[in-house]
Symmetry: C2
Subunit: 717 residues, 2 copies
């Protein structure tokens, strides 16, 4: 997989072109730059918000049509209803898998591991293309609308990131950055900031949780964080919240079909449990442990399954992927329709008509107490209430307060086992798929189960099963994804209830600790499997005892002389895959001097343009100014998540090969260097925290020119 | 002021002692270390929570006694009531200023600039002492209870930080770190993490806002952030929330006197405005602008006043400081008692008895509609409702919904002008003082004023003046402190209302932008004034054009040879104030080699212990092992926020002076180096992001040993 991923260049390459440009820039340009950044944050917010609204409207409408059609038909024939239900789902899933396989292969899965990799400094081919964006949006409508055991939240994060990245490079034209005013975002560093905004916007849109979005981006996705970015990211999230809110207000009046009555998250549980007693902490801790165990198991099972898929199944081509998705769809439909049929119905409890709860609910409406295959009138089918329903509504039912004993333990257990299996099997098929909502489903099922026991055991009135369902959801997500602060805040925001925060934290602390005892988090496992070399924030323990010199082994360094023959460059570039080459010059005294770092991609640009070729093997001029710089800085920019130039693309005549290039104006004269005996922990921190790509290991300096302390950096403007 | 502050050493000094210790440590020790860290987080949470509860109980009780006494007396004589009120306040303020001036001078002010400095890498003498903690707690009880225009929130942050730091070094015994199990927290780096936890705990305790606390620590206070820390910090905040909640539950039953009925923040406004229309955005933007202007003005005025105080008034000694505080106290009492007297009372509106609002409220109760110097029975004094009250209750009244037209515009304006002046004058006097609550007071006053106009102008029923008061509060804090995300979240958490988040953001965006046009944030201005050299997160624009070599000027580097005569060390240490010295060795070939960095504090430890003195001027042994290391790593640890050893403390005989020390085992062999032509922007980022103290500027290397990329750092455990 080595060829598929490549590091990003977050470093500022201070070559002559860059320095010249810096010198020409005024203060006005800096202000303009800031303004554009904020404007882009605004656009990202609006774009992601609209994408989320679009996806949700489509999904809710497809699901709404599906369920109302099926309900209408099953009044006459259950078999006909079953067939229609299966076909409807199959069609949607087929559309999704078709789009993904034929058109946007990078749109499969949740995309969060890839985005995480991107923000960690690894570029994966194709993840931020326009076609990936389109595939993600339409693919997730199909897969979620088709009732598979997956969610649309992960894909929304990827969508936000794609929108941000595309805005940043000014559209789909991959190989040229359009007008001059867009040249603000040419470096990987600027794009990283935009993508961070996009991620936060995606989470904010998925859960309508602006603060949660910021924290998710901060905790889970990004690897570097600058505090200037925080406010901009928050701004983006708030814009998303406003856009979504406005759209939903507009939909309330019935403009959007089935959308508006039910879904789009915010499972408000503010009417529920207000207080908790100390005895309840024990069952809550149990929930945490279950969450850790089931979450770690989920990670492990999906890891095996995904690696099997990658190595066998998906190697066989797109046909297999399509068939696989269809089989999973039929399986899911059959189980979600068939199992409730086997379940005998329960008589309706007496409900207070003032509470607004209906039993059984009228067909086509959202709510609890679904009537499905019941012989009597005042009966409902508790398994159908969660299984034969959209996931959003099922979760709402599981979280709901004031509905004690709605579900039987048997139904919940059946659902748990079935849905868990489905979620594991669905994970990794070639459709856009998020793990948040399935995780919440699984967690809230066993949470509610524990809640039922607590209600029966403690015999207290103010305990709500819905609260336990919420804690269960938190525990499963914590046990699988291992997020902490952001998950807490997201849970609080989606349930609109600040009071449960300490309980959620307790549960998360436990489930994360339990999960960590077994394996890594879901995204890290998946990233590793996909060959994305993530650098964690903490250096490994072994590194304390290693030095920088040991880390780079005894490999011979492939370096370039300052003035180099074109033929030599070509043969060096052909003979290895390295992306950076030290440039070594000779001093007058006959010694050598490491004068900088030359990137492969910059060399390729020079070879392609040919304007810098010279006949003489001598340095053109010791300093800049004598010869004008032929290149603007933007020529060296590599397009996002594409492979860029390769040495095979470049055609040189034999005359060209005999010429020379003086690299001095193009190299990065100030790469980071470390002394050979620095411990690898320190090197790691340097590399990770500054987001580097290359570090030179050099002997101790022979001479010290000066010393910089805090005082030297306090320059008054 | 240069002598008062000194940089912290966040770097790992990889000397032989350190390496030996690393080698001796097992995996078990690492686990133990983690466990201790979490345990300390727990302790910090509990400690800070209890401190907050203690401060609040005391303040509320003092204020309760004061007001009930005064109310009782003014039934008979307003003059007598006035005198008692003034004396009561005076006594409390006197106690506060006495404690601070005589006992804990570092406890004056809010302490946030100092803590910010500490976490930025600057140690200020005395800020984390035990006596500072005590002074802060008791001082702020006096100053807040005494009715001055200041708050207890800033001091609580400082309190949290002190508790954390004291826990970290195992108590007050400054000059020796007690038992072995505490040696986990010996480096400045570990202490920094603890102090970060303490800060977050302080905010969480002050506002009962755990998420806000984490974000405050992240955005406003810390300069470096490791994602591992986030979860621990959040844990601490949650513990605080639980402790405070438990204590308050216990106090509800009347165990804590006056505390429990009123204060301790959470100004719940969930009963208020649910929705907003687009027309309202204009007046809200106006609030933002006012907030930016008034906030920037506040910063500027306090800056002038504080610098005047520092340069003239407070130079005259503690007597002047005490007199000043007393004068301010008398002034505040007179205004808050006298002004409401001049105000004619308003007849009570008709209130729905079901709403629980009383008019006029019964004496000794908390709530709106205070009766004060009114001739008729069914009247209340609107100015007294906010002025002659504790600040928490005044804010609650200003935020309150369903109390349209409670205040007249005239009263609000009077209060605004008076309180603003008082807040400016009080700032910088020698008592513990926070700026949050006064800021909220000021902001909510003009916010409510704008709200009144909106209500009158738009004539809509669902607009609440309280909502505007809240936005006003946010705008003033944003305009003065320039916090963003954390302020948003804190405002949401203290009002327990998620729906207003986008509005708060809008207001903050505007007020911060307006404020930034005039000056820096309050804490930055104050830090600069106090000579705390904060490094901002962003390098200055000018640095792009400067190189590392230019930054260190033409100063001659003061360096040490590897084997150095004791007399030379002494004379070098005496002759300058530098804290780090490059060590230069001679190679066999006769050239020189920069082998590392020696810290002044480590040199002093060597001079004091004398065990490493040798007679020969030759290196003792080229490598470790031959001669055992005489020192454990902990001997080199400097106590927190104290001056540590000084060269004057060390007494050497003339024999000692003739001896030599081989520095090789004690120096840091891998200091960070940069090539001379690296731009200062890059140097700044390196320095700031890794939290360095010294960077060596060296010529380009003559030779490259190796090259480290991402792949080399992916070591499997
Ligand atoms: N110019 C070079 N000379 C010698 N060894 C090199 C050189 N550049 C890199 N290496 C080494 O070769 C190995 C693979 O390097 P490669 O250049 O492929 O980098 P990489 O880790 O894949 O990062 P990137 O994503 O930038 O390609 C690394 O261990 C690295 O230390
Ligand atoms: N050993 C040295 N030789 C020459 N100049 C030095 C040396 N150490 C520091 N300097 C320079 O002297 C100035 C003041 O240095 P000083 O050592 O007081 O550091 P500082 O900025 O006050 O930091 P600290 O808080 O660590 O004391 C700085 O500009 C620094 O570059
Ligand atoms: Mg590579
Ligand atoms: Mg100094």
């Amino acid at each position: 997989d080595g060829g598929r991923t490549e590091s990003l260049d977050y470093e500022v390459i201070e070559n002559f072109a860059y320095r010249e440009e810096q010198a020409n820039r005024g203060r006005l340009f800096v202000m303009y730059q800031v303004a554009v950044k904020w404007f882009f944050a605004l656009l990202i917010g609006i774009g992601t918000g609209l994408a989320a609204v679009f996806i949700n409207i489509s999904v809710e409408n497809f699901a709404g049509w599906k369920f109302s059609l099926t309900f209408a038909i099953i009044q006459k024939s259950y078999l006909a209803g079953f067939v229609v239900y299966i076909l409807f789902n199959l069609l949607l899933v087929l559309s999704s898998v078709y789009i993904v396989t034929q058109f946007a292969p990078a749109a499969a899965g949740s995309g969060i591991p890839e985005i995480k990799g991107y923000l960690n400094g690894v570029d994966i081919h194709g993840i931020l293309f326009f076609r990936t964006l389109i595939g993600k949006i339409f693919g997730s409508i199909g897969s979620v609308g088709g009732g598979l055991a997956l969610g649309k939240e992960g894909p929304l994060v990827h969508t936000g990131a794609c929108i941000a990245s595309l805005l940043g490079q000014g559209g789909t034209t991959k190989y040229h950055l359009s007008s001059r005013w867009l040249q603000v975002f040419r470096t990987d560093r600027d794009r990283r900031d935009l993508v961070t905004c996009g991620c936060a916007a995606g989470v904010a849109a998925a859960f309508r949780a602006p603060v949660g979005g910021v924290l998710f981006a901060l905790e889970e996705v990004t690897s570097w964080w600058r505090s200037q970015l925080m406010w901009r990211v928050f701004f983006t999230s708030a814009i998303v919240a406003v856009v979504v809110r406005t759209a939903m207000g507009w939909c309330k009046s019935g403009n959007c079909g089935h959308f508006g009555s039910g879904g789009f998250i915010i499972w408000d549980i503010s009417g529920g449990q207000e207080d908790y007693s100390f005895q309840e902490l024990l069952p809550m801790a149990v929930i945490g442990i279950i969450g850790g165990l089931l979450g770690a198991l989920f990670n492990q099972l999906t890891l095996y399954l995904t690696s099997w898929r990658r190595n066998y199944l998906h190697k066989k081509g797109n046909r297999v992927k399509i068939i696989e998705a269809c089989v999973i769809s039929i399986l899911t439909s059959t189980i979600s329709f068939g199992l409730p049929l086997l379940r005998t119905c329960t008589p309706c409890p007496e409900v207070d008509p003032a509470s607004g709860i209906e039993c059984p609910r009228s067909p086509g409406m959202y709510g609890n107490y679904v009537k499905f295959y019941c012989s009597k009138d005042q009966e409902y089918n508790d398994l159908a209430t969660i299984f034969f329903n959209t996931q959003d509504d099922a979760i709402r039912n599981l979280f709901s307060a004031k509905t004690l004993h709605e579900f039987s333990a048997q139904s919940l257990l059946t659902f748990l086992v079935m849905f868990y299996t489905l979620a594991v099997v669905t994970f990794g098929s070639a459709v856009p798929a998020g793990q948040f909502v399935p995780g919440i489903m699984i967690g809230s099922t066993y949470g509610r189960l524990v809640g039922m026991f607590v209600v029966n055991f403690y015999q207290k009135l103010n305990i709500e099963e819905g609260t336990y369902a919420l804690l269960g959801a938190a525990s499963f997500l914590g046990g699988s994804m291992r997020m902490t602060v952001s998950l807490c805040v997201i849970m609080v925001e989606i349930t609109n209830n600040l009071k449960l925060l300490p309980l959620i934290m307790l549960v998360l602390l436990i489930s994360k600790a339990v999960g960590d005892a077994f394996n890594e988090g879901l995204y890290e496992e998946q990233a590793r499997l996909r060959g994305i070399p993530l650098l964690e924030s903490k250096p490994k323990y072994e590194m304390r005892k290693m030095t920088a010199k040991e880390a780079c082994g005894n490999r011979k360094v492939v370096s370039l002389p300052r003035v180099v023959k074109v033929a030599d460059i070509v043969s060096i570039l052909r003979s290895n895959k390295h992306n950076g080459f030290p440039v070594i010059d000779h001093t007058r005294g006959g010694g050598t001097l490491v004068i900088g770092l030359m990137l492969r991609s910059h060399l390729l640009v020079l070879l392609q343009s040919k304007v810098d070729f010279q006949h003489s093997p001598l340095p053109s001029e010791p300093r800049v100014g004598a010869r004008p710089i032929m290149h603007s800085f933007s020529e060296f920019v590599k397009p996002v998540s594409s492979r860029g130039l390769s040495i095979e693309d470049i055609h040189l005549s034999s005359d060209d090969l005999e010429m020379y290039i003086d690299l001095a104006p193009f190299l990065n004269p100030s790469p980071y260097v470390v002394p050979e005996d620095m411990s690898l922990t320190k090197v790691y921190n340097l590399f990770r925290q500054l987001g580097l790509r290359h570090i030179f290991v050099v002997p101790h300096a022979s001479r010290i020119i000066g010393l910089i302390t805090r005082k030297d950096l306090l320059i008054e403007e």
